[in-house]
Amino acid sequence: MPGSSFVLIALGFAAYAAVAAIGSQRRRNQVWVVVRPELLHSARRALLASAAALGLAAVALWYALFTRDFSNAYVAAHVSSATQPWYTFAAFWAGMDGSMLLWSLVLGVYAAAFASVRRPLAEPFVPWAVPVLGGALVFFCAMTAGPANPFRTLDLAPADGRGLNPLLQSPAMVIHPPMLYTGFVGLTVPFAVAVSALVTRRTGADWVRVVRRWTLIPWLALGTGLVLGGAWAYTELGWGGYWGWDPVENAALMPWLAATAFLHSAVIQERRGMLKVWNVFLVTAAADLAIFGTFLTRSGLLSSVHTFTESPLGRWFFVFLAAQTLLGLSLLAWRLPDLRSENALDGAVSRESGFLVNNLVFVGAAIAILWGTLLPLATDALGRGRLQLGPPFFNRVMSPIGALLLVLAAVGPLLPWRRGTWRALARRMARPASIAALAGAAMLATTRHGAFAGIVTLGVLVAGVSASEIASAVRARTHSTGESRARAFAGTLARNPRRYGGYLVHLGIAIMVVGFAGSLFRAQADVVLEPGERYRFAGYSILYRDLRHHAAPDKDVRLAVLDVFSGGRRVAELHPQQNLHANFDQPQSEIAIRTTPARDLYVILTGTKDGSKRAAFRLYSNPLVFWVWAGAVVAVAGGLVALVARPRAGARPQGAPAGQAREVAASAP
């Protein structure tokens, strides 16, 4: 099939890019110099060619999926003639082999983008970043061309395909895996630049400045992917929650935590020339944890809700992971003398120390999750059976860590650089802390739940500090320019997108945390009802009206009709359903949810009996889940502001003297 050939072409160009980029340089007086720029230019183009070939391979796979080419083993396994177009599109990444092609394609696009964007600050890092990106691309193309080839043909094509796994037939699945992959794969770029910085001994702040945006992209994509994964679990898996500390969820969270830590510590290196070793370590750790997550997903070492992606690829990923780790750590050890801090920590009450503690907590969180995820393997290896650590362990460990991170998110923006005083900090904290304490006291009086009141207090504290920092900047701008508040808000974000985008992310996370806290009041009931029967649950009166059967082309559907009343008024009609898909043994539930800002009413049709309309339901009352998604939207918006907006130079005041130096001085607000 041409698809396989395109992957092989991509592999060839990636290998050429790696070799040519190295060959374009010579070492003179301990400095790497590009002596054949035309060869480096050709290497950069080879990464573009590799991405183009992978794009054509992807088109070939989509073509096979949409034309129902059941002679292709992957197509026969993942779509049927009844599969809807959106899910046919998403079937590309429904299985192992397609996922590998997607990974290669996304990596190809990243590598091509990095190679083709010419920014003076980034140029010195290109000659050694290209071989790293090319090498990674060679590995993934080799996987896609070999053990995970989605273009394998069957000797005998079946009349129809098996169809898409019903659990994957969710709108979130159309976008969730590409988002996650954009996150995982993108962390290779900062790693490649870090390697280049170490090889060329350009270990100052420039490499950190170069990778900031290249880290923000995968960080944002991974965060969005995690939220979309939560939405998928919530609406498809039918256990009433959105996060279950599943090994694969954990594996996606760990690199996000490492990348988050790096985005904070990068500021310290830029501003004070500190944490250089730490930053290289974090970038390596983030890239490693991304591969580790995939290794877990693909190896089937741990049982997970993602078992549909198990394959024997795990050992290859392990080899790649080991090679990447070895490269990063050995270069780090080699260049250790070049990575000395330019400054020391001046005081405990300082922005630097706040960022440092924040970093330690983020990494501590990642280590705790890693420990909890790997413990079953460790105990199994020691012959003690698989000791599973479920949500209670993670909730117990992560709650104090999360609380500490919230405190740091509230205090950090108020800390001065270099050295401050506790008194000054207390003065700046007084107002948001008072508001948060009042909110917490009100929650305690209303709910009589100490943990909930504590979480709300911290959430309001973070939200208060973030919002007040943004508000004071908007106010200052309104006063100085006379702009409307909306324009001043937009102008403030545009003026310093990194800082105010970051505050928006903090605000979004604070809102999400309050949403998470709603799970403390979660209620559940299992009921069996006859048509016409009512059941009172969580302040609602639920009337079971009818059970309807119908046959769709690919499934038999049983659909219950429920009327939901609140305060004597009918507020919703819900349709939980149970589907029996052709070619899949297990029935699959379609959950019905009534969402309000206060709570979700979550209904699962768990069983029906042939010849009868008697039906069993599981009901959940999930308070404040709405705020998890709302907070995520705010956080993603903040990430986009930090990523997309470019700081605008300030207008030169009238009468200001010409000359670039004065222009720079005048550009500060």
Binding site: P2, S5, F6, I9, F13, Y16, P37, E38, L39, H41, S42, R45, A46, L48, A49, A52, A53, L56, R119, P120, L121, E123, R209, R271, R351, P413, L414, L415, P416, W417, R418, R419, G420, A424, R428, E469, S472, A473, A476, R495, N496, R499, P647, A649, G650, G659, Q660, A661, V664, A665, S667, A668, P669
Partner: protein, 85 residues
Amino acid sequence: VIVLCVLAALTAFVAAPLYRPRAAEPADERGALRARRDVLVAELRELELDRASGALEASEYERSRAAAEAEAAELFRALDAEGSD
């Protein structure tokens, strides 16, 4: 045939710089200096924000601003020198 055409086109695209080597491009010194200027602008902006929000003591603000301006002066001397070439 499609695969061969694609391979030929991509190979020509990749090989083109080898057959049309441009005169060795001088390092984009001016571009690098401009990039550093942008970094300085961002740093100065951060300093002003920190001062306005109270996150920076007056003495530290003055010290940092003086350091940034000294660096800026040096940078612009270099930029002027580049521009006069």
